[in-house]
């Protein structure tokens, strides 16, 4: 398969992943903030095609899971009533009753999605049952829905932060490389300072002097800002290198000879060269930033509850009993594997396209 095809394949795969995450509201059966305190840590719901009487149904169905006292099985399937899986469900008013019951528990805490919106969902079951495709967490929230919405947050955070870092790096690197002199010196010292710390330490240090208790939305944007501002150093150095060599080209000198201004030279000759480098960097930086978000959120310094992110979804595993007994809580982490595989494949394909031996 040629290099071109590999790039397209990787892009297609990543596109599909991102699309599925963007459609989270549609694909997820529940709002991620909806809790069901009576069903904590339920294992993934099993889909059945054959009922108790041995008949095959094309439409899969589920049983409700009653909490049991047996330590080996946290809940037992109640086979008396089968709930078929329905597709293209509208969030019914019956579903809202569950929200109201939870209101009393949650006090003033209101989820945004559940009460107001009535929109379409790909699948669902009748209100008396719960379909937890990937199990539920300690507060009875559907992990599948949370994974989709969390994936949205994590992937978006990674892409936005990488965009910010690359944008800053492009700007500062171009200025440093093109103008040289004290501007270059200043920016390069800055780059060295930022690279003098291991990246996670740097993120911690920067996070440390920002407010700890923030609303979920604020924490999301703050995280992106922190990661973006911290990550400009390496792209800036690369861009500076490219700009330095482009600046010395004879065709730039010739253009100056026609009376071209600095802005023209940057726009027409220098920056297009830098763009190629920036694009290749994007394939490497986005997964790094997604990873950083996951690490920070896991440690409580990233996206705050109740907004789900793949990082804070994994945070429940910090408790020993969760780690030991509830294997489905690992799945948000496992979901990251295809994402990274896709991005690394893309980065390799882009590097090969640029003629570099991929590492």
């Amino acid at each position: 398969m040629t290099g071109r095809h590999r790039i397209y394949l990787a892009l297609g795969f990543l596109g599909a992943l991102h699309a599925s995450v963007l459609l989270a509201s549609f694909l997820a059966p529940y709002d991620p903030k909806v809790q069901d305190r009576e069903l904590p840590f339920t294992p993934p719901t099993r889909l059945h095609f054959v009922d108790v009487r041995g008949r095959f149904h094309l439409r899969p169905f589920i049983y409700t899971c009653e909490p049991s006292s047996m330590p080996a099985a946290p809940c037992v399937e109640d086979r008396t009533r089968a709930f078929p899986l329905r597709f293209f469900v509208r969030e019914s008013s019956a579903g809202l009753e569950v929200e109201k019951a939870n209101l009393a528990d949650r006090g003033a805490e209101l989820g945004v999605g559940g009460l107001k919106r009535r929109h379409w969902r790909l699948f669902g079951v009748d209100q008396q049952a719960r379909i937890f495709l990937l199990g539920s967490d300690g507060l009875g929230r559907d992990q599948f829905s949370r994974l989709l919405h969390g994936g949205q947050v994590s992937l978006l955070a990674g892409i936005l932060a990488a965009g910010l870092a690359l944008g800053l790096g492009l700007m500062l690197g171009a200025v440093a490389g093109f103008y040289g002199g004290w501007v270059d010196e200043l920016i390069m010292r800055g780059v060295e300072l930022f690279l003098a710390l291991p990246w996670l330490y740097l993120l911690f240090a920067v996070r440390a002097f920002l407010p700890l208790h923030l609303s979920a939305v604020q924490s999301f944007f703050l995280l992106i800002a922190v990661m973006g501002v911290v990550g400009w150093a390496r792209p800036a150095r690369l861009v500076r290198c490219v700009v330095l060599s482009a600046r010395e080209r004879d065709y730039v000198a010739a253009a100056r000879g026609f009376g071209a201004s600095d802005a023209y030279l940057l726009r027409r000759h220098v920056l297009p060269q830098a763009f190629g480098v920036v694009m290749t960097q994007a394939g490497i930086l986005i997964p790094q930033f997604i990873l950083a978000e996951v690490a920070l959120s896991y440690l409580g310094l990233g996206v705050a509850e109740p907004v789900p992110s793949l990082g804070n979804l994994l945070a429940e595993l910090q408790q020993y009993h969760v780690l030991a007994s509830y294997w489905w809580m690992f799945l948000p982490g496992v979901a990251l594997i295809p994402v990274f595989a896709g991005y690394y494949a893309l980065a390799n394909a882009l590097q090969e396209g640029a003629g570099v031996v991929p590492t």
Partner: protein, 295 residues
């Protein structure tokens, strides 16, 4: 049309049509201001000096090389000058200073009654268009990702001359003048051969109708038959457009065929300057003799 075998007849034929096109375009507005006065001197260089810092010693002293030492040079209108000398004699530095790519440490460069080195940036930008340089390696002098028409039209684009369509048409006319087919308008620079790229560079340099063209070893990278063709092209274009040119080269045979007068440089100064036949037949300076012997 095979560009490498352009005959004089076809070129003159094209030249005539271009000339008419030019005279028409002159009505539309030419890329630069009209000539001021009919002087016989195109360019005058006075007391030009430049030194390069080689390295700094530990005690802070700088060791520098004097590339140009008080160079005096006058270029007449409609003149062609060859600049020869051994490597390190300063000919390339002089070429770059004359075309304002580098600033000399001291001296003056007079063009159209103004000292170019004393001009402000805005005036300088205007003056730069009257002297254009063509580099030795066209592969480096042309942005490989530009198309032929983009390359040739670039000077006009920088000036924001006229409309994009007019610029394109003028670029295509220039391409034809240098013997490149109009059909190659969208071909990328890296798809052309060395000789064709040098033609593109010449076309580009002519876009602003310069008075003086500086060719810094521009023919050295081409093989002899191509050199002959480009030399002929230059001479024809000189007749058409009316510019003077300075050809820097280490190849004396090439210089002999391409220019009227020659100046010999040695260790940063001009040691001899006369008609080319005179200099080569009866060299007066030891440096010239050494050059001729090594040929």
């Amino acid at each position: 049309m095979n560009t490498e075998n352009v005959t004089a007849a076809t070129l003159v034929g094209h030249g005539l049509t271009s000339l008419t096109a030019l005279s028409v375009s002159r009505g539309e507005g030419r890329p630069y201001v009209s000539r001021s006065g009919m002087t016989t001197t195109a360019l005058q260089v006075r007391a030009l000096s430049k030194a390069y810092v080689q390295r700094r010693t530990l005690s802070g002293k700088t060791i520098s090389i004097e590339a140009l030492r008080n160079v005096e040079l006058t270029l007449q209108v409609d003149c062609t000058l060859g600049l020869v000398g051994e490597s390190g004699s300063g000919k390339s530095t002089l070429a770059r200073c004359m075309s304002l790519l580098e600033r000399p440490d001291s001296g003056e460069i007079w063009l159209d009654g103004k000292n170019l080195l004393s001009l402000k940036t805005s005036e300088l930008r205007c003056a730069r268009r009257r002297i254009q340089i063509i580099f030795q390696d066209p592969a480096r002098a042309l942005n490989p990702r530009f198309s032929a028409v983009e390359l040739v039209a670039e000077p006009l684009e920088v000036l924001r001359w006229n409309t994009a369509e007019a610029r394109r048409r003028r670029a295509l006319d220039l391409m034809e003048e240098v013997g490149l087919s109009r059909q190659w308008e969208n071909r990328l620079a890296l798809e052309f051969s060395g000789g064709q790229r040098q033609r593109l560079a010449i076309a580009r340099a002519l876009a602003l109708e310069p008075r003086i063209l500086v060719l810094d070893e521009a023919l050295s990278a081409l093989d002899p038959p191509l050199q002959a063709q480009i030399t002929k092209l230059l001479l024809d274009l000189k007749v058409l457009h009316g510019f003077s040119y300075v050809l820097i080269s280490h190849d004396l045979r090439l210089v002999e065929r391409a220019v009227d007068e020659v100046a010999v440089m040695h260790q940063g100064t001009i040691v001899e300057r006369d008609k080319v036949r005179e200099v080569f037949a009866a060299p007066r300076h030891t440096a010239t003799q050494a050059l001729l012997e090594s040929c």
